[in-house]
């Protein structure tokens, strides 16, 4: 796997972004664009990525971007694909990119429709596990036991939606999970996605210091803890075959998966979790981990 020093030097995020300090999305997006290159059009709804793309008339992003309404990222991507194809332009990578709210919740209809039609584009969900741009409200991607501004007293009582299973049911040409703390894993998966056709779905775990309650300097550490404890599993699915990658593969081989305690304790959003909810969280993570190991035939 490529180290960060070996990745292309060309930058598509120029200085002057407006995201919060320590934003996991910003780190991920930097490497995503390095992999996809300048012949990319990104379409995006109103979300943290909109903030990253800046305020008119300036933008720090050096690829074309088309903003759209919240529920229609995949529809907008479909329109770009259709419009460019109708005009004989076939050398541009179309990307629809939205957060977990714009994907797991409101964007699911358009995404499912576009994926079923096998629309030729890459869909990226950067998952920071709540509506961060509007002030940390609960989404269906919010994990069990997390404090949000709309689960302020009891915390979230339901586990995170298993959206990856829903996307897998669409029989995609390629889908992968990755995390902003592993640029090499992320870069290689996006390079692979770029060179495939049909609908490709990329899930990018993106820690958020403002919403998760940890110091801005800890974003990389939190993402690593998520992977080391199996809360986030790095894998890819091609032709129905699931393959573990990077850190998740080495954890599977070594059997050294951390308990979730360290990951949970490092974040303010989990500070209200009673021990029985922590145990339930651990059980859910273990079940998912076993399920993936079985799928990966490990």
């Amino acid at each position: 796997m490529a180290t960060t020093l070996e990745l292309p030097g060309e930058e598509f995020i120029l200085p002057g972004t407006r995201t919060c300090a320590g934003c996991g999305l910003s780190i991920a997006y930097r490497y995503i664009l390095k992999a996809l290159g300048p012949k990319t059009i990104v379409t995006l709804p109103a979300c943290c990525l909109t903030i990253l793309h800046g305020i008119y008339p300036k933008t720090p992003i050096a690829v074309n971007a088309v903003n759209n309404t919240f529920a229609s990222t995949a529809a907008s991507a479909t329109g770009l694909v259709a419009g460019l194809r109708a005009r004989g332009k076939n050398d541009i990578t179309i990307v629809g990119m939205a957060g977990d709210g714009g994907t797991f919740d409101m964007g699911i209809q358009a995404l499912s429709g576009a994926a079923e039609r096998q629309t030729d584009f890459i869909y990226i969900c950067y998952d920071n596990e709540a509506y961060m741009n509007t002030g940390v409200q609960r989404s269906s991607a919010t994990p069990l036991g997390a404090y949000t501004t709309t689960t302020p007293v009891l915390t979230k009582q339901q586990p995170k939606k298993n959206f990856l299973k829903i996307m897998e049911a669409h029989n995609l040409s390629y889908m992968a999970t990755t995390c902003s703390s592993y640029p090499g894993d992320l870069y290689e998966k996006f390079l692979k996605a770029k060179n495939k056709s049909g609908t490709r779905f990329m899930h990018v775990a993106s820690p958020c210091p403002a919403g998760w309650g940890y110091p801005a300097s800890d974003t990389v550490r939190i993402g690593r803890l998520a992977v080391e404890s199996g809360v986030v599993v790095l894998y890819e699915v091609e032709n129905g075959e699931l393959r573990l990658t990077g850190k998740s593969l080495s954890i599977a081989r070594s059997g050294r998966k951390k308990p979730v305690d360290e990951y949970l304790k490092a974040q303010g959003r989990f500070s209200k979790m009673p021990p029985e909810l922590v145990a339930e969280f651990q059980k859910e993570v273990d079940r998912n981990w076993e399920d993936i190991l079985n799928r990966a035939k490990l």
């Binding site: 909109t50 088309v66 903003n67 329109g79 259709a82 460019l84 109708a86 429709g113």
Partner: protein, 402 residues
């Protein structure tokens, strides 16, 4: 050279889109417009039309696809009705703000609840304030002609445009339609030339967050604020009617049918009592006028070819001689009165101060049949009432039963 075909309104709309050589179509089924995407997908699959047809999973996505396909530089067409149009609402505002020249056929249908699949105009009237232009059709020939006109107009001023026609009454009724030759349409409507390209060498951020005050661009020049962008949309629409007339004249010279007047007028010059209506109601009013004239009543009709931008000045001038104006509408702004009635009154107030008796009739909701005889009876009642000096203040519901 044109040929005459006996076809439904829906088939007419699809054929018109084909003649306009649309490049991307995204549509979702809803009665009564479903035959439009069915016909277009058949054109595309059989190779008669070289276009991308996207069979979307909702109307919200249909308009989402249309907006971005237009941003990518394609000529784009869609069609919907009623709740489908309502489901698009957010996207309609977005399309107008994004200045994409999409043309959409709307087979007018009533909105639930309770359900109706039949015709009225509540669907498009409710989208009056989205920034779209709206053309209304009296018959199938007008559907053919106004789809072609709509593309020419929309692409000239970069404002999306609805071509509205009565569901079932026109969408499912066969009528003779003169179909222009492809050559004539090609000459009238050359290929769409987008004003910009999404060029990787010159990346842009389209429709981003815009602040309340103008901010300087990289060269130091101030760029529009949110209000600045929105004011430009209004300014464009304020200047559309002369362009509409000019395009209408060009259309008349080439195709022999003249829509350059924003109004349809029938025996309106010397009329003492006027019907004001849109769509097929204007056709019914034309027949009613003939009956009334036979009975010695000087009736006449003003119909609207274009409802947005609103031809207020033309309307005030055209109704100047009438003693009584009756506005027949298949829709209402609940809690007040018919939208066209309110707007007509405002036009008279602003433009010439003429104060005729203006009466509002709500008709034909949810497909309730309306025939010329109903209109004749309503007018005879009105003339009796106004002679007695009794003023009718609230809209009268015609034929609503219990």
């Amino acid at each position: 050279m044109s040929e005459t075909k006996i076809i439904t309104g829906n088939e007419t709309a699809a054929l018109a889109a084909k003649l306009c050589k649309v490049q991307v179509i995204a549509a979702y089924p809803i009665t009564p417009q479903s035959k439009i995407p069915e016909t277009l997908s058949s054109y595309v699959e059989s190779g008669q039309l070289d276009a991308e047809f996207v069979r979307v999973e909702s109307e919200h996505s249909a308009m989402g696809v249309c907006i971005s396909a237009s941003i990518a530089g394609a000529r784009v067409f869609t069609a919907t009705s009623a709740n489908g149009l309502a489901y698009m609402n957010e996207q309609l505002h977005w399309a107008a703000g994004a200045r994409v020249p999409i043309v959409m056929a709307v087979a007018n249908r009533g909105l639930g609840a309770p359900w109706t699949i039949l015709n009225d105009m509540q669907d498009t009237l409710s989208q009056r304030d989205t920034g779209w232009m709206q053309l209304y059709c009296r018959n199938n020939q007008e559907i053919m002609d106004k789809v072609i006109l709509a593309f020419k107009l929309a692409e000239r001023v970069l404002v999306p445009t609805m071509v509205c026609f009565d569901g079932f009454r026109l969408s499912h009724t066969v009528m003779p339609v003169k179909v222009p030759s492809q050559k004539d349409v090609d000459e009238f409507l050359p290929p769409f030339e987008p004003v910009y390209e999404l060029d990787p060498e010159k990346p842009v951020n389209i429709n981003p967050v815009v602040m309340t005050d103008p901010l300087p661009g990289p060269d130091g020049e101030l760029c529009p604020s949110y209000m600045g962008f929105r004011r430009r949309l209004q300014e464009t629409l304020e200047h559309v009617l002369p362009i509409y007339r000019e395009i209408g004249k060009e259309f008349a010279e080439r195709f022999g049918r003249d829509y350059s007047d924003p109004l349809y007028r029938y025996m309106a010059d010397d009329a003492e009592i006027l019907f004001v209506a849109q769509g097929s109601v204007a056709s019914e009013a034309t027949a009613a006028t003939d009956i009334l004239r036979e009975r010695g009543i000087k009736a006449g009709v003003i119909g609207l070819n274009i409802f947005r931008p609103f031809p207020a000045e033309d309307l005030a001038e055209a109704t100047n001689g009438a003693r009584v104006i009756t506005v027949f509408e298949k829709g209402i702004s609940y809690g007040y009165e018919g939208v066209l009635c309110s707007e007509l009154k405002a036009a008279l107030f602003s433009h010439n101060g003429h104060r005729p008796e203006v009466l509002n009739f709500i008709v034909g909701l949810g497909g309730k049949d309306l025939n010329p005889q109903d209109l004749v009876m309503a007018i005879e009642d009105v003339l009796g009432e106004t002679k007695e000096g009794r003023k009718i203040r609230t809209p009268q519901w015609l034929g609503s039963g219990v």
